[in-house]
């Protein structure tokens, strides 16, 4: 059995038995570590049972690396403890903030990409990597707002953080499509300019039109199949940069495991061509 990770799936409790029994080569599973930061009980037991069969990726949503404050040491310690326990193949987080003033806002919030933000976020990423004793990948978020005060483009900003901290990047192709649509630029331009050398992981997910504003605003809902336009961007990306572990992300309106698995097979097939070429 090869140790190369190809396409993975988000792990949902409803799909636990199917996930556990799935023998696919290169398959891996991703979880939000915040959902497993417990002292004990069935959740950790599920995760460890999956880990005994498959590689795991920890995809954090609450480290709040873009907050103008150091990451919460207690949260970092819990993340490090979970990482020691499940020895994940990948750990990732977002270029966003979600905690402020002692409260947790469960979302990935935006900020002006200023020089001060670059210094703060680079410092925060370094603190996280020091605590975890490993390289993490930082994900491009979805954008909805026109924000004044960006001194850096997102790609240049992410490249700078990667250069300063040694971290990798997680390229979410659906977020690129959603952001490009909402902010009015060509998604292909972003995909083509993204620094290949830093990409540790790729995400694919579904989106939906805003219930109020319609198609004028696309929302990164993770509640639908990956859109044809996103598949096209993904194929374009893989043709340029080669194979990288790719996740099918689905968090809402969960279909049967077989439906998600079919999407996973589509990504897996796209990744096999460059892998075969490289072999």
């Amino acid at each position: 059995m090869t140790t190369v990770l190809t396409a993975g799936l988000g792990l949902k409790p409803q799909h636990f038995d199917a996930a556990l029994g799935c023998p696919a080569d290169g398959l891996w599973f991703e979880v939000h570590p915040e959902n497993y930061m417990v002292a004990g009980g069935p959740r950790l037991a599920w995760l460890e049972a999956i880990r005994a069969r498959h590689a795991i990726s920890l995809h954090g949503v609450a480290l709040s690396l873009a907050a103008d404050a150091a990451p919460d040491p207690a949260h970092l310690a819990r993340l490090a403890a979970l990482a020691r326990r499940v020895e994940p193949a990948l750990i990732s987080e977002h270029l966003a903030w979600s905690t402020w003033g002692g409260a947790y806002y469960p979302d990935l919030l935006p900020f002006p990409r200023s020089g001060a933000a670059l210094a703060r976020i680079s410092d925060n990423v370094s603190r996280a990597q020091d605590a975890l004793q490993r390289r993490i990948a930082l994900e491009n978020p979805s954008h909805y707002l026109e924000i004044d005060g960006h001194d850096w483009s997102e790609i240049d900003f992410l490249s700078q953080v990667a250069r300063r901290t040694g971290c990798g990047l997680l390229l979410d192709v659906n977020n690129v499509y959603v952001s490009a649509h909402n902010m009015g630029y060509p998604a292909e331009r972003y995909i083509d300019a993204f620094p290949a050398e830093h990409v540790m992981e790729i995400h694919l997910a579904g989106h939906a039109p805003d219930p109020g504003l319609g198609r004028a605003l696309l929302v990164d809902t993770h509640d639908a199949a990956v859109a044809p336009e996103v598949w096209a961007l993904y194929a374009r990306l893989i043709a340029r940069i080669g194979a990288r572990p790719t996740l099918i992300e689905r968090d809402d309106k969960l279909p049967d495991f077989a439906v998600l698995y079919a999407e996973r097979e589509r990504a897996d097939a796209l990744l096999r061509a460059p892998l075969a070429e490289a072999a």
């Binding site: 907050a67 404050a69 200023s114």
Partner: protein, 272 residues
């Protein structure tokens, strides 16, 4: 123009202060006293995506953590009440698994819930389920181990409640019956006998399990949790309920998996 607009120290912190405050403002409220760079964001229709995501995440978590309460009051009522709780009490830890620690106290003060006096008790049991579900793993005390303790030592034996064990006595209402009928989506039309009830939640084999408990058994567990010897815990049970059947009480608790281990109290004379 851009080079004139050098960000002041602390600009990111001020942005986050204002943005965080605006997230919980009702959309209709004018954005007064909000830093001007953020005020320009709030007026964009897309700002609602963040507002809605934060609120939905918190309300979904409460609905998931308080399913018996939600089933009793219906989804619409629950989500409206939950939204008020969210504005008062945001998650204080960066995870939603245990969000809503103060929800039972909130419901006890919540005017529209005044006609449902059993609601805070049901919320307490939902909360105890979450605590039991996420508590540390430990072995369950084998009743045979206790049976091997000789009679002389038995009185000084201390039983330690399992880390996942949670119990409560409700003196005013049949909270356990109301809760257990609504925790699982089962239809039950049996008459409700309006009487005091207690509950024990345990996790001896992975999943959380529950049984009804009488006042004596609740007092017994309270004493054990405080480190009392078996003799003192038995006395506490008898003080609560003069006719308590101690043998039955012990076998119920041991069979449920309420204890993880035992230790032996040392009398002061025996210490070196």
């Amino acid at each position: 123009m851009h080079e004139l607009n050098v960000p002041l120290p602390g600009a990111l912190a001020r942005f986050q202060d204002a943005f965080a405050r605006a997230l919980l403002m009702p959309a209709a409220e004018p954005a007064i006293a909000i830093a001007s760079d953020v005020a320009a964001l709030i007026v964009q229709p897309a700002f609602a995506v963040y507002r809605n995501t934060v609120m939905k995440g918190c309300v979904d978590a409460l609905q998931s953590n308080y399913p018996a309460v939600a089933r009793l009051v219906g989804e619409e009522w629950f989500r409206a009440a939950a939204a008020i709780y969210v504005r008062q009490t945001l998650p204080a830890e960066p995870s939603l698994l245990r969000y809503g620690a103060a929800f039972a106290q909130f419901l006890a003060r919540f005017e529209p819930a005044a006609e449902l006096p059993y609601l805070p008790g049901v919320a307490r049991l939902d909360r105890m389920w979450t605590e039991a579900h996420t508590a540390a793993d430990d072995d369950v005390l084998d009743p045979a181990d206790l049976a091997r303790v000789d009679a002389a030592t038995l009185e000084a034996t201390v039983l330690h409640p399992h880390p996942a064990a949670r119990w409560a006595w409700f003196a005013d209402a049949p909270i356990y019956t109301i809760w257990s009928r609504n925790r699982v989506a089962a239809e039950c039309d049996d008459d409700l006998n309006w009487q005091p009830e207690g509950a024990l939640l345990v996790r001896p084999r992975g999943a959380v399990e529950w049984i009804a408990l009488d006042a004596a058994a609740c007092a017994f567990l309270d004493a054990c949790a405080a480190g009392a010897s078996l003799a003192a815990a038995a006395q506490a049970a008898l003080d609560t309920q003069g006719d308590a059947d101690l043998a039955q009480l012990m076998s119920t608790l041991l069979a449920a998996g309420a204890f993880s281990r035992m230790s032996f109290e040392q009398s002061t004379e025996e210490q070196p």
